[in-house]
């Protein structure tokens, strides 16, 4: 398939598609919904590509817009939310049904706890939970000082521990 997107956006798209999807998934926990939201956010970004040339700013903008759209999507589709459990896909074939059930239960309670966090702590938790992100990366994405991210992440983990106990 020949695609004639402009080269600069093409490069940004390759690495941003996954980021947008994961941010959306962090809110929705539903693959198809997350894909829809991510696609919508990327389309918006494509329209605004003229004013979003800077690489870091583009990613930060994309994270913010995807997060907001995912929250809106979650609110408007609250009744039909069916959460997926990611760890099901990661379990080996020799895992027993009990293990699968236990894993699902653990995951559900974890997400419940994450959802109970205030939004500021929730977004930091999700972005830091995306495997390749360290404190610096999260700070860049949220355009906040690293110290702020550290303290928010610490607070978020404390709350999660309390909630999960």
């Amino acid at each position: 398939m020949t695609v004639d997107l402009d080269q600069e956006f093409e490069a940004q798209l390759a690495e941003s598609t996954r980021l947008a999807f994961r941010v959306a998934y962090g809110v929705l926990r539903h693959r198809e919904d997350a894909e829809d939201v991510a696609q919508e956010a990327l389309t918006k970004a494509y329209r605004k590509r003229g004013s979003l040339r800077e690489h870091e700013r583009f990613r930060a903008w994309l994270v913010r817009i995807t997060w907001r759209m995912a929250i809106d999507h979650q609110r408007s589709h609250k009744r039909r939310v069916v959460w997926e459990t990611a760890d099901v896909a990661n379990l080996g074939t020799n895992e027993s049904a009990v293990d699968i059930l236990a894993s699902r239960e653990r995951s559900a309670s974890l997400w419940q706890a994450i959802d109970a966090l205030p939004e500021k702590l929730r977004i930091v938790t999700v972005l830091a939970g995306i495997q390749e992100h360290d404190i610096r990366e999260v700070a860049l994405l949220l355009e906040l000082p690293e110290g702020t991210i550290k303290s928010r992440l610490f607070l978020a983990r404390q709350r999660l521990k309390e909630l999960l106990q």
Partner: protein
């Protein structure tokens, strides 16, 4: 659950990959987007444009006022004027009567404009001033002593006595007498 376990749990929960068709779907969607060139105005250009507009506006607003209040810097030459300029009558344009068929062109007479205000001096004053300047130039009058002279004048009584009117007083006769005299004169003629 300790911190590392929690971190691992969250990472595991988020380690979900989009479907293999997702990337292709996104690209298809973006290609289908109407092709519009990205509009990007450099902020410096925008700032320069705004500054230019403000400058033009300022010139338009302030320039007429300034020219109205401008002070004539060049001192007008002292020109003795013997005749008072005649007053210029400006013809007023009346609306044409509806019955008149032939149109008449009315050229309004406008007073000629002068760039400098006209200063009227009595020729005698001008002559006196000129002779004074000439006397100073020829050193007939010591200019350095003028200050002392003016100070002395100031110190002296500042009230100036009115000058006596030179000339014979006019005699005005009563009207009746004047008429009688005229009649008598007419008879003699």
């Amino acid at each position: 659950m300790n911190e590392d376990q929690l971190k691992r749990e969250i990472e595991q929960a988020l380690s979900v990959e989009p479907s293999p068709q997702f990337m292709a779907k996104v690209r298809r969607e973006l290609v289908a987007e109407p092709r519009r060139p990205p509009v990007r105005l450099p902020w410096t250009l925008v700032a320069a444009g705004v500054a230019g507009a403000v400058l033009i506006l300022a010139i338009v607003v302030f320039l007429p006022r300034q020219s109205g209040n401008s002070i004539v810097k060049s001192v007008p030459a002292i020109v003795p004027v013997t005749e008072v300029p005649q007053s210029v009558e400006i013809e007023t344009v009346r609306p044409p009567k509806p019955t008149v068929t032939a149109e008449r062109k009315v050229t309004p007479v406008t007073a000629p404009r002068r760039s400098e205000p006209e200063v009227l001096f009595d020729p005698r004053e001008a002559a006196a001033f000129r002779s004074f300047v000439q006397a100073v130039q020829e050193k007939k009058v010591n200019a350095s002593r003028l200050d002392a002279f003016f100070e002395a004048v100031e110190r002296a009584d500042s009230t100036i006595e009115p000058m006596p009117i030179a000339g014979t007083p006019i005699e005005i006769r009563p009207l009746e007498l004047a008429v009688e005299e005229k009649q008598r004169g007419g008879e003699t003629l």
